[in-house]
């Protein structure tokens, strides 16, 4: 003959079972929270690395642009000097100073030779996409500067993407922490329910189930949305 069950024994077993189930759910949500934290940590590290690379690229592009502009500036100066010397030679010739005119013209040729050699150092003259298509035209300096900007913008875009990943992972980790807290409350309610008389136990179980459903449901929705 079976023993008559003690009143409320079933609800006590239910509270115990729910407490155990809550502990398992807490373990799973904690694992998800850890995963999100690791992702945030990795993104934070990548962000630091990319920022360093950006600073490095800024410095490199700055040095490169300074060099290019220095070279092209010097070349323009020498070309202009040669032109002025040629004009001076013409003027001297017109005034009958043939010897001085020849010397000035020779000096102009020297400056022009210098300018030609200088141009070989500049990618603005070497690179077909920037080089002038006629002798009297200037190179595409604006395009060169814009291309430098494009490189920088691309790097900044990468940093923004990684930063977004970091913010997103951090928020998800924080939200998981909130759900773990809600589940811990459910665990507390189920634990307390076992020590109370059956009517009060049912109330605690009801609130515990609500907390368990909120914590589990929220964590599940977050996992599905983020994954």
């Amino acid at each position: 003959m079976s023993e008559r069950p003690v009143p409320g024994e079933r609800s006590k077993h239910a509270a115990t079972f729910l407490a155990l189930a809550t502990a398992v759910v807490i373990a799973c949500v904690a694992a998800l929270q850890n995963g999100a934290n690791v992702t945030a940590g990795e993104a934070s590290r990548d962000l630091q690395l990319l920022t360093m690379q950006l600073a490095d690229d800024f410095e490199r592009l700055g040095l490169q642009a300074n060099f290019e502009m220095g070279v092209i500036g010097q070349s323009f100066k020498d070309v202009q000097e040669a032109q002025v010397l040629r004009l001076s030679a013409l003027d001297l010739e017109a005034r009958g100073s043939t010897a001085d005119a020849a010397a000035t013209r020779a000096r102009a040729d020297v400056m022009l030779a210098r300018a030609q050699r200088e141009k070989q150092f500049s990618s603005l003259f070497r690179d077909a996409q920037y080089a002038p298509n006629a002798a009297d035209k200037l190179p595409e300096i604006r395009k060169y500067v814009n291309d430098l900007q494009v490189q920088r913008t691309r790097l900044v875009g990468r940093i923004t993407a990684v930063n977004q990943r970091y913010i997103s992972a951090s928020r998800v980790a924080d939200t998981y922490t909130m759900y773990v807290t809600i589940l811990a409350i459910a665990l507390f309610l189920f634990g307390l329910a076992q020590a109370l008389e059956w009517r009060a136990r049912l109330v605690f179980i009801a609130f515990g189930v609500m907390a368990l459903a909120a914590g589990t449901g929220g964590a599940l929705i977050l996992f599905l949305r983020w994954a």
Binding site: H13, T16, F17, L20, A21, A23, V24, A27, C28, A30, A31, N34, G35, V38, G41, E42, R45, Q48, L49, M52, Q53, A55, D56, E59, R60, L63, Q64, N66, F67, G70, V71, Q74, D78, A102, A103, A106, R107, D109, V110, M111, L112, A113, R114, Q116, R117, E118, Q120, F121, R126
Partner: protein, 221 residues
């Protein structure tokens, strides 16, 4: 009735012992996950420090390169100027070029190693990459700094940490099954113990396998 009680208490004892063992295993896995996380963090920091040092050395080498490039540019322009003077019809310029070539040009050449003929290219430009490689080689610290290796190890450890945490979660499932077995009896208890054994076996195997694989491919703890 007399035989039921000892059998029941024996299975109670077995389940209780299993709960204790799995609890300890879970705690150990949690500890290991924490250690893996710390080690991954350390590797990441080492990688970042190495990257900072590497960038500093590279930046210095590059700064030197551009400094040398400016001197080399001045030198090349001056050589062109002197060549034009030498070829000039003007006797004064020719005479000047001889003196300048003799006294000024060698001093200008000393300002930059890039004036050396070994860096000259056929198109009139200079081999900056070759010089940059040499400048980097002059700093032996650069070769020792391998941030990407540290980052790879860190990533490996982070993966191990994730796997270990999920293994611990499987052990939590195992504990749940054992606890259910503890409060039930007969068939349900047997089912609980079987399920707990499966969860514990899978969890521990995954953790062990992840650790072994990490050791084989390197970067594991």
């Amino acid at each position: 009735m007399s035989t039921d009680t000892p059998r029941s208490s024996r299975s109670d004892l077995i389940v209780a012992a299993a709960i204790a063992i799995i609890s300890i295993a879970t705690a150990l896995l949690a500890w290991r996950a924490s250690v893996l996380g710390s080690s991954a963090g350390e590797e990441s920091r080492t990688g970042l420090m190495d990257a900072i040092k590497l960038q500093a050395y590279t930046s210095e080498a590059r700064r030197l390169l551009f400094q040398e490039a400016e001197f080399a540019f001045e030198h090349a322009a001056y050589v062109a100027e002197l060549d034009a003077m030498t070829a000039s019809a003007d006797a004064g310029l020719r005479a000047q070029s001889v003196t300048l070539r003799q006294y000024v040009l060698p001093q200008m050449a000393q300002l930059s190693p890039l004036t050396n003929a070994k860096y000259a290219r056929t198109d009139g430009t200079l081999d900056y990459e070759k010089r940059l490689t040499e400048l980097k080689a002059e700093q032996p610290q650069i070769a020792r700094l391998q941030p990407s290796e540290s980052f790879a190890r860190a990533n490996n450890l982070f993966i191990q940490q994730r796997i270990t945490i999920w293994s611990a979660a499987l052990l939590a499932f195992s504990l749940f099954c054992l606890a259910v077995a503890e409060i039930t009896s007969n068939r349900r208890r047997a089912l609980g113990v079987i399920a707990a054994s499966i969860f514990a076996g899978v969890g521990l195997s995954i953790a062990l396998l992840a650790s072994l694989i990490a050791r084989v491919i390197g970067g594991g703890l």
